[in-house]
């Protein structure tokens, strides 16, 4: 039998009962649409969260004071942790592969200028802050002095603070009081917006030493190290750990690489996407039962026809393939319909609610279609085998 004739025969039987075929295909379509829609939203969320987390760049390792690992012998010596200092940051600067090092801490303080006052986040940072994180200075610049205890009272403003305290004026060269001390404005940042809920525009940036003094802290909250893109995060982490252990005498700090953090986050989000996809898969199962039902009915209804085909010289295998082909075609067409519905609804949702991130990965679409065909095959096998094994004499007399 030619493949074209095979197609003509299978389509003729399913076009013959259009409504029934449509409804059966719809069962699969809804399942595939659910899978596509849910995974589209899951994947969109995935990309959205990852983009949020990599706002600061991905070649970043953060060193924080204190070891977060629990160790039996360490109980009771918590107070002996050495703080991270500006000298530590300076030492890391000379390590290989390291591009920028930024000592940092943050707190909240009252700002006063032009008779207005405002409480905002105050970041104590190093001179390489804007290049260590991917944040740009709009006008003016950061201080260029080394990060040491004798830092000058200079400040870079976030755009919101600039607007609130110096609206309509050029703030560069003006003075600003932070916690009672006078700071000279030397720069304004570009607007960055909110990152993970923190408004980077409603903030000011001062030298880290000044920050420690302002908040009365003995050490830094973290040291951020950015490294060359062609180097593995593990290598840089190892070098940093070795150097700091040398300085501190033991490992009383924690390193977190952005790359590793993103990997963990990404795998968690992948599991979520997979889980919602599997939920949609349940409705696919219902669709499969629909195909099984319809094909079983078709074999019963067309028993006499099967007998005739056998009498005309059809082999068992040909009868099997005809019914299997019908089941697969039903589910494959249902799958295509489901893809169209799923992607359509996902994109429609995105148009209605632009805040909802949506992304349909082609791999999922291809897998969904493959699943549909497999379901058709699985659901069609039993009825098709029954059709093929019918006794021709009995089948002919079924009316």
């Amino acid at each position: 039998m030619y493949f074209r004739d095979f197609l003509t025969l299978t389509t003729s039987s399913f076009l013959n009962s259009r409504m029934r075929s449509f409804l059966t295909g719809l069962g699969i379509a809804i399942g595939i649409a659910a899978v596509i829609l849910l995974t589209s939203i899951g994947e969109g969320l995935h990309q959205f969260v990852l983009a949020e987390f990599s706002e600061f760049g991905t070649n970043l390792i953060t060193v924080q004071p204190g070891k977060t690992q629990t160790q039996g012998s360490n109980v009771g010596v918590i107070g002996s942790i050495r703080q991270l200092t500006l000298d530590d940051a300076e030492a890391l600067r000379h390590l290989p592969y390291v591009e920028n090092v930024n000592p940092g801490l943050m707190g909240n303080a009252e700002l006063k200028a032009n008779g207005k006052s405002r409480r905002t986040t105050v970041f104590g940072e190093g001179r390489n802050f804007s290049s260590a994180f991917t944040m740009k200075v709009q006008s003016g610049s950061f201080w260029t002095d080394e990060d040491n205890e004798q830092a000058r009272a200079l400040v870079v403003l976030g755009t919101k603070v600039r607007q609130e305290l110096f609206s309509g004026q050029n703030p560069l060269g003006q003075y600003l009081r932070i916690g009672g001390q006078r700071y000279r404005v030397i720069g304004v940042m570009e607007s960055k917006g909110q990152i993970l809920g923190m408004d980077m525009d409603d903030a000011v940036f001062i030298p880290a030493a000044r920050g420690m003094e302002l908040f009365n802290r003995p050490g830094l909250m973290e040291i951020n190290v950015s490294y060359r893109a062609d180097v593995d995060a593990k290598t840089v982490t190892r070098i940093i750990t070795e150097r700091l252990k040398e300085l501190h005498g033991r490992e009383d700090f924690t390193t977190i690489s952005q790359e590793q953090a993103l990997e963990v986050l990404s795998s968690v989000l992948n599991v979520i996407t997979f889980a919602v996809g599997a939920l949609g898969g349940i409705s696919l199962l219902v669709g499969a039962v629909g195909i099984l039902t319809i094909m079983t009915m078709a074999v019963t209804e067309r028993t006499a026809e099967i007998g005739l085909l056998r009498a005309l010289g059809a082999r068992e295998k040909q009868v099997l393939m005809l019914f299997l082909g019908e089941a697969i075609m039903l589910s494959a067409l249902g799958g295509v319909l489901g893809l169209v519905i799923g992607i359509g609804v996902a994109q429609g949702l995105h148009l209605l609610i632009p805040a909802l991130p949506v992304h349909t990965p082609w791999l999922y679409a291809a897998l969904a279609e493959l699943t549909a065909v497999t379901i058709g095959l699985a659901a069609g096998v039993a009825p098709a085998m029954r059709a093929a094994r019918l006794d021709p004499v009995e089948a002919l007399h079924a009316e």
Binding site: M1, R4, D5, S12, A304, L308, A311
Partner: protein
């Protein structure tokens, strides 16, 4: 040419063995016109199914065109049916969703004959059987006589050596029935062995050779000169 040697066919019904055919010996020559008559349960349908390779004898030998077809596999049986045997049924057995021409084409599709050749053969047959104007009609748009003519066209499109007709006029009125029989009888000129199973004595009487069956046995086998 068909030859049956000591053919028996028994069915198992519950725990009982029922003999549908008992020790049948039969030889049908090429271009012979045979009617098989008998009451229901006499074994005539079982005999027809055996001749058509839809069923297998429980014992005995079946030779078709000098080849032993008794112990063929399902696959081989299907091939013999496709190439050598045509069936005509009481209830026509047309596929309702296919047109008359497509129904006639069906055996050739199963046999894998190319489309151009199929079209040509269908056209000739439809013309010969007076169905040219009905080629694109579905079975439910045809009269009973037309349906049976489509079925006969389908049974002969592969040029079989044997044509088996099971009550071919059973669902037709008397006049149409005669027409259909005439069409079948005309096939003998093409060297086809025609076997008609019927319980209608009048129809059976048209055949030159008349076989009567009862209880799975051949009761009489007579040649009538016309």
């Amino acid at each position: 040419m068909i030859e049956l040697q000591n053919v028996c066919r028994t069915f198992t019904v519950g725990d009982q063995q029922v003999a549908a055919l008992r020790d049948i010996n039969l030889r049908l020559d090429t271009s012979e016109y045979v009617s098989i008559m008998g009451p229901s349960g006499s074994g005539k349908s079982t005999l027809l199914n055996l001749l058509g390779l839809l069923d297998r004898p429980s014992s005995g030998t079946y030779l078709l065109d000098d080849g032993n077809v008794t112990d063929l596999s399902d696959e081989q049986q299907a091939q013999v049916r496709r190439e050598k045997i045509g069936f005509v049924f009481q209830s026509f057995h047309l596929v309702p969703r296919l047109t008359a021409a497509q129904n006639v084409e069906l055996p050739m599709i199963l046999a894998g004959i190319p489309a151009e050749e199929r079209k040509a053969r269908v056209q000739v047959l439809m013309q010969n059987y007076g169905l040219a104007a009905r080629a694109d009609h579905r079975p439910d748009q045809l009269s009973g006589g037309q349906r049976q003519r489509v079925a006969i066209a389908r049974a002969t499109v592969m040029n079989p050596s044997v044509l088996l007709a099971d009550e071919p006029t059973g669902n037709l009125d008397r006049h149409t029935g005669w027409e259909v029989l005439q069409l079948l009888e005309g096939l003998m000129e093409r060297g086809i062995t025609l076997v008609v199973v019927t319980h209608d004595a009048e129809i059976g009487a048209r055949a030159r050779r008349q076989i009567h069956m009862l209880d799975g046995r051949i009761l009489s086998d007579e040649q009538h000169e016309k």
